[in-house]
């Protein structure tokens, strides 16, 4: 069963299963993760096979979930906690920022906090308020945390394995609108490094950088651009903290143009950080300012408006046009 074609959610499920099988210290905890298997079924069947002591339905209290996970990690466990939706993480934000992120440094390295916080994130599923947000920058801004997001099934499987094995706390953002997208997963492959970006399409005229749900969109944009005679490179960032700036720099030194795409608001977003760093690193290579495509400085809109709020094919291609017009 080395190579399977799996939906992204099922790849995550297989990854959790592998972790539970190989390390008795791994725990899965969260709201509805047990009998129900999670609202997206990412933990489907795990409690049945590994028991209530290892796959734990928790009280409905996010700070409590993360706070007790910290205590379990101090006892030697490796908790993988699920926050049910992106917009519900904020009761736990205090524990994540003031405790989870800083405890290792507070102890001058004498204790480790191997906790993974899984968060389904992003829009495009027609949900009600608080179910479509992209708060990754709020976590990437915090020293002590690592922040990653897979864009496909193979990365979902392997990046979660690596996050669980990491001795640092990892905020693991899952692109919920891609949960049902199928992709090949080779469970015997040798995975790439967790915090390295990957070039998913080669090109020579412009670089698109994206992660999570926007990688697929950028590949579609690159395909359309190709029909118009433009060679667009697409880099899947995979990790938002740390960011693989070397990979972006290498690409931009070749293409001389950069557009960053994410669902999160562009204001203070990861695109802003990438634009600043790449401008410093590639000042003499750039033919155009780094452009960003993302959400607006407005609360995530009602579902009937999300198509306008979210970066779509046309908005990405518009940015490509503007960059190439310089």
């Amino acid at each position: 069963m080395a190579v399977q074609k799996l939906p992204l959610a099922k790849a995550l499920n297989e990854s959790l299963r592998t972790a539970l099988e190989t390390d008795p210290k791994v725990l899965v905890m969260g709201e509805d993760v047990g009998k129900l298997g999670g609202v997206f079924r990412v933990t489907d069947g795990l409690q049945k096979d590994f028991g209530e002591e290892r796959v734990i339905d928790t009280p409905l209290a996010e700070s409590g979930i993360v706070g007790t996970a910290i205590g379990l990690a101090l006892r030697g466990y490796r908790p993988v906690v699920e926050i049910q939706f992106d917009g519900f993480v904020f009761p736990a934000y205090d524990q994540i920022v003031t405790q989870l992120a800083k405890m290792h440094a507070r102890a001058l390295g004498k204790i480790k906090l191997p906790v993974v916080v899984r968060i389904p994130y992003g829009g495009g599923i027609g949900a009600v308020e608080h179910h479509s947000e992209s708060p990754e920058a709020l976590f990437a801004h915090v020293a002590g945390l690592k922040v990653v997001s897979p864009s496909n099934s193979s990365d979902a499987y392997w990046m979660l394995q690596q996050a669980i094995q990491s001795d640092d706390p990892v905020i693991f953002f899952e692109p919920k609108r891609r949960y049902w997208d199928k992709g090949e997963v080779d469970t015997e492959a040798i995975p790439g490094e967790l915090h390295k970006a990957r070039t998913v399409r080669e090109g020579s005229d412009l670089t698109l950088v994206a992660y999570g749900p926007m990688v697929k969109l950028c590949l579609e944009a690159a395909a359309v651009a190709a029909e118009e005679g433009r060679s667009v490179e697409v880099v899947d960032l995979r990790s938002m903290s740390p960011i693989d700036f070397d990979a972006i720099q290498t690409s931009v030194e070749k293409t001389r143009r950069l557009v960053v795409v994410h669902e999160a608001p562009v204001f203070y977003g990861s695109g802003a950080e990438i634009a600043a760093r790449i401008t410093e690193r590639c000042f003499y290579h750039l033919e155009a300012p780094v452009l960003r495509v993302g959400g607006y400085h407005a609360p995530y809109p009602p579902a009937r408006l999300e198509e306008e709020y979210l970066p779509g094919l046309d908005r990405v291609l518009d940015a490509v046009d503007r960059s190439l017009a310089y």
Partner: protein, 389 residues
């Protein structure tokens, strides 16, 4: 049974407290309930139907010594702040019995999650007192290895550690161990959501944890009336586990009640809330000015209930300690004070590069990059000899 039902308790009139009864909710108690006491403020040994303790003269002298040395250490730290050697100090003055009594109830394999004021508990755990001073001097944020004495780092964010204690206790139960966990917090923290969530989690999972609340009457400037309309120990009932109020200035009662709660946890019967009714004799920290919000009369009333004085009275009356014991302890106190003073003064500032250490366990590219940038920047000030000025 340790559940303290309101009906079973005889209300004891307290003029101070009843004066505030007009602000209390209908049905709330208008007088303070009785608390578990084994040694009165006058140094008289009294019996309690549910809690008792039988200690040898040596053990009693040991508790006295712990409290005296803790108070001496605390006074030295306050002085060191006044001398500019520490940036801040959070004094435990007045809370010695609550901390030594509960601290001495613990086994070595039990695990402690303190706030930032548990200097007496740290003493009981064998943590070198000078280790506690680094964060107050500003050379680290704690820095000790929590696993060497099963004494977690001081937690400054109010109430956060109660969840860590609960999670740790859940792990203890999973391991099939009969160790117990104790979480310290205060009356102010009782209003924090994390404390309520820790009560919920520990009750639901039957975690072997003791919640030890030192109700020292003041959360900086806010009296307990600003945190609760019922006695704090009664909160436990609503979560489904027992709560008990103990005289927090009675080291014997604190020891007996905590030991009982820990044993209950070991037997797999779940959490207990202990409310140690005590008083913060000093300021919240050395930055605080309590004259702005409380009256001297109140402090004087509590001074008469001093935890150390009452045990000394008992030891002397019973002939359990002679003059030589007290003299030797005085000498030992001064030696401790001197050792702490010298250790703090000799505590070096951290290396400039230290801020980049231990941000991550497995490293981080950005930290590496910024460390190198900072090192290069620092080196740019070096003179011809390579000395950085």
């Amino acid at each position: 049974m340790t559940v303290e039902g309101t009906a079973a308790r005889k209300p004891r009139r307290s003029s101070k407290r009843t004066s505030a009864s007009a602000t209390k909710a209908p049905g709330a108690q208008s007088a303070e309930p009785q608390l578990v006491q084994l040694l009165t403020p006058e140094g008289e040994r009294v019996q309690h139907p549910e809690y008792d303790i039988d200690l040898s003269p040596e053990e009693l002298r040991g508790l006295y010594r712990d409290m005296v040395l803790t108070r001496r250490f605390d006074a030295e730290a306050t002085s060191l702040q006044r001398q500019g050697e520490l940036g801040l100090w959070a004094s435990l003055l007045g809370q010695e019995a609550a901390q030594i009594g509960s601290g001495r109830a613990l086994r070595d394999d039990d695990y402690v999650f303190p706030t930032y004021r548990e200097h007496g508990v740290a003493w009981c755990r064998g943590v070198d007192p000078t280790n506690l001073l680094g964060m107050f001097r500003g050379v680290n944020h704690g820095g000790w290895d929590p696993t060497s004495n099963n004494f977690h780092l001081y937690t400054i964010v109010i109430g956060s550690q109660t969840l860590h204690a609960t999670g740790y206790a859940m792990g203890v139960a999973k391991d099939g161990s009969d160790s117990a966990v104790i979480a310290y917090f205060g009356d102010g923290a009782s209003s924090q959501g994390d404390v309520a969530e820790s009560f919920t989690f520990s009750a639901v999972y039957n975690a072997p944890v003791v919640f030890f609340c030192q109700n020292n009457q003041w959360a900086i400037s806010e009296p307990t009336e600003k945190q609760t309309r019922v006695p704090l120990y009664q909160r436990a009932q609503g979560f489904g586990f027992p709560g008990v109020r103990v005289d927090g200035n009675d080291v014997l009662a604190c020891l007996a009640v905590t030991r009982s709660a820990l044993e209950r946890a070991r037997r797999g019967e779940g959490p207990t809330l202990v409310e140690a009714f005590t008083y913060r004799m000093g300021a919240h920290t050395t930055s605080d000015d309590p004259t702005r919000y409380r009256l001297d009369d109140e402090r004087a009333a509590w001074e008469a209930k001093d935890p150390i004085l009452r045990l000394r009275t008992y030891l002397e009356k019973q002939g359990l300690a002679d003059a030589a014991f007290f003299e030797e302890l005085e000498t030992e106190s001064e030696t401790l004070g001197k050792r702490v003073r010298e250790a703090v003064r000799a505590m070096p500032d951290p290396d400039h590069m230290a801020m980049f250490d231990h941000v991550y366990a497995d490293g981080h590219a950005l930290v590496d990059e910024e460390r190198a940038q900072f090192a290069a920047y620092q080196a740019s000030f070096a003179d011809a000899d390579g000395e950085v000025k």
